[in-house]
Symmetry: C2
Subunit: 221 residues, 2 copies
C-alpha cells in the first residue's frame, strides 16, 4: 500500500510536470528549479540575478516556503514578478502548485522562470516540476561532504552554484573534493563558484542563463 | 487515502516511539534527538561533546544519514559507541530504526544517547523517536529568518544551539531577532550560543546535559 500510494502521488506529480513542461515549451520560457539546504543563499542569488539581468531578460520567480512570503517580497524589491507558495509544512513544491502559480507571474510572457524550492536537500529532488534545468546551491559553511551524503540531489543537477565564496578563508571546505565528487555523480554538470554577497563569480552564471534563454525562440514584445 | 496512510505511518512510528521511551526510562538513559539543516555542525558538536564529557558520562550516538557512515566513524574517533543508519533516500529517522540501533550501541548501559537525525529542517520534526529532549542546531550562516520560516521545528525544541559563533563578524545574523522569535514559539526553550570549532559557549550545553543525565537514577557500573 505504501508503495502504490507513493507511486500515485508521483504519477499525479508527473502528469502536472508534463503539463508545465509543455507550457514552457509553448511559450519559449526557460525554467530553472533551484534546490538547496535552508540558508545556502538561494533568495540572495535570485534577487541579485534579477537585479543584474532585468534590463536584458524578463524574469519571474515562484517562491516555495513552509511559511512566510518574505522571499517573494525580496524578489519583487529586486524588480521581478514573484508569487509565494506557502506549503504549510510540506517539505517540497509539487508540479501542481507550480502550475497554479504560473498565471500569477504572467509566465507566458517571461524569458526565465525560477522556481525557488523549499529549503531542503532531500525531498525536492524527487519531484519533477516540469523545469528545463535544475540548479543546486551549496554554500561553503555547509561543508564539503554534502555531495557524498546527498548524492541523489547532486546527481540530478544541471548546475551547481558553490556559494558564499566570501567565507573561503574562514571555513574548512575542500573545493577540489566537492568538484571531483560532483563530477563523478554528474559528469556534464556546470559548476560556478560565486558569492551572492560580493557578486564574485556571478557573471559566469549570468552568461549560462542568458545563453539558455537566448536559445529559445525570440518573442514578440 | 493519503491522510489514512499518513496516519498509519505515524501510528506505527508512535508505537515504536513509546517502546523507545519505555526503554530509556527503564534504563535511566537520557536521550536527545538532534535536528538541523545539513551542515549546521551537528556531528562536530556531538564529537566535541563526546570528547569533553566521556570521562564523566557514558555516551552513545545513533547516526542518521541518507548515505555514508562517515559521521559514525567521527563519533567513534571521539571516543563513543556509534551506529550508523543509512536511510537510502528517506528524509528522516523513524522510531523503528532507532529501536534497532539501541542494542548495537549498548544503550542500556549508557547515561546519554544522542540521535543525530538526517540533515533536514522539515521532516524529522514530525517523527517522535521516543527521545526525552529535542535539540535544534541553527548555524549563523543559515540566516536569522529560519525560525520564522520553519516554525514547527523550533516550536518542538527543548534546546536551541546557535552554532558557528566564530563566524559572527563575517555573516549577517541578528541574534536578538532569532532569540526573540524562538521564545515566542517555545517560551521555555534553552538557548546556547556556541562554536563547535573553537569550543566557545559549550560549557553551558555540557552543564545542561550533565544535569539532565544526573537527574536520572544512578546506575551500577
Amino acid at each position: 500500500m505504501k508503495i502504490s500510494l507513493k507511486k500515485k502521488i508521483l504519477d499525479k506529480n508527473e502528469e502536472c510536470a508534463l503539463q508545465n513542461k509543455a507550457f514552457f515549451a509553448d511559450n519559449n520560457t526557460f525554467c530553472v528549479n533551484v534546490i538547496s539546504s535552508p540558508g545556502s543563499g538561494k533568495t540572495t542569488i535570485l534577487s541579485r540575478t534579477v537585479g543584474d539581468l532585468k534590463d536584458r531578460l524578463r524574469i519571474g520567480v515562484v517562491e516555495g516556503d513552509i511559511r512566510t512570503d518574505t522571499d517573494a517580497k525580496k524578489i519583487r524589491s529586486a524588480g521581478a514578478a514573484a508569487v509565494q507558495i506557502e506549503t504549510k509544512g510540506t517539505c517540497h513544491l509539487s508540479a501542481e502548485q507550480v502550475t497554479g502559480a504560473l498565471g500569477a507571474i504572467g509566465a507566458a510572457d517571461l524569458d526565465i522562470v525560477f522556481i525557488e524550492n523549499v529549503g531542503n536537500l532531500v525531498c525536492p529532488s524527487a519531484f519533477d516540476l516540469g523545469e528545463q534545468a535544475r540548479t543546486v546551491v551549496l554554500s561553503l559553511p555547509e561543508g564539503d561532504d554534502k555531495p557524498i551524503k546527498y548524492p541523489g540531489t547532486f546527481a540530478k543537477a544541471d548546475v551547481l552554484l558553490i556559494n558564499k565564496m566570501d567565507l573561503v578563508d574562514f571555513v574548512d571546505f575542500d573545493l577540489d573534493r566537492v568538484i571531483n565528487h560532483v563530477r563523478t555523480l554528474k559528469p556534464d554538470i556546470q559548476i560556478f563558484q560565486v558569492s551572492a554577497k560580493t557578486g564574485e563569480g556571478l557573471q559566469a552564471w549570468y552568461d549560462w542563463l542568458t545563453k539558455k534563454a537566448d536559445a529559445k525562440q525570440p518573442k514578440d514584445d
